[in-house]
């Protein structure tokens, strides 16, 4: 069954082609691409950690 996860506080910006991995109960997201308009996009190098146990 699918559910929407409502995480508290800040969350990663919209992005695609990022990578994700698991370490213990932590979901980790790295990088990806954002599109701001027809001509502007950005490649990310940020790392986000989500604790699935909380």
């Amino acid at each position: 069954m699918w559910s929407v996860v409502h995480a508290r506080g800040p969350s990663p910006n919209p992005r695609y082609n990022h990578a994700a991995a698991v370490y213990d109960q932590y979901l980790i997201i790295f990088g990806g691409v954002a599109i701001f308009d027809d001509k502007n996009s950005a490649y990310y190098n940020d790392v986000w950690i989500f604790d699935t146990s909380k």
Binding site: M1, W2, A7, Y16, H18, A20, A21, Q25, L27, T52
Partner: protein, 138 residues
């Protein structure tokens, strides 16, 4: 060391598609597919590939779950096939370039490109609450 192709595992060609494993199964969702007239189609399918196969000594037609053995590479081209899973709840819309990661019995899907562009939508999928009425992909 060498690669072996699982020739029985056939799904439509796609890119920007994540793959994750939980237990003896691989899970995949969505992706960028090529539709009719070379148009792009975003997928919203949840595909499952069961890597747990009946032991060769078992009668395949009468095998039950307790007789299953772990992956046996000599049978790679025989059995594993993709299944679509009928999902319930609030499923993600079609997308590509997202991530899908298993943490225990939960799959987590984040982001990707939807119709409007990149998104930061965040979903979880409870594997234990998935319906058992899986259907063969083709």
């Amino acid at each position: 060391m060498h690669w072996s192709e699982i020739k029985s595992a056939v799904a439509g060609p796609r890119k920007g598609v994540p793959l994750t494993n939980s237990g003896n199964k691989l899970y995949s969702f969505g992706g960028w597919c090529m539709g009719p007239n070379m148009t792009a189609i975003y997928s919203n399918e949840l595909l499952t590939l069961n890597l747990e196969m009946p032991h060769p000594s078992n009668n395949l037609l009468n095998s039950n779950m307790s007789n299953l053995s772990p992956l046996n590479s000599s049978r790679f081209d025989a059995l594993p096939q993709w299944f679509t899973t009928r999902t319930s709840g609030t499923p993600p819309t079609a997308r590509w370039g997202h991530s899908l990661t298993a943490v225990g019995n939960q799959l987590y899907l984040f982001g990707g490109c939807v119709d409007k562009g990149p998104t930061n939508e965040f979903y979880s999928y409870d594997i234990r609450k998935s319906r058992t009425s899986n259907e063969l992909y083709f």
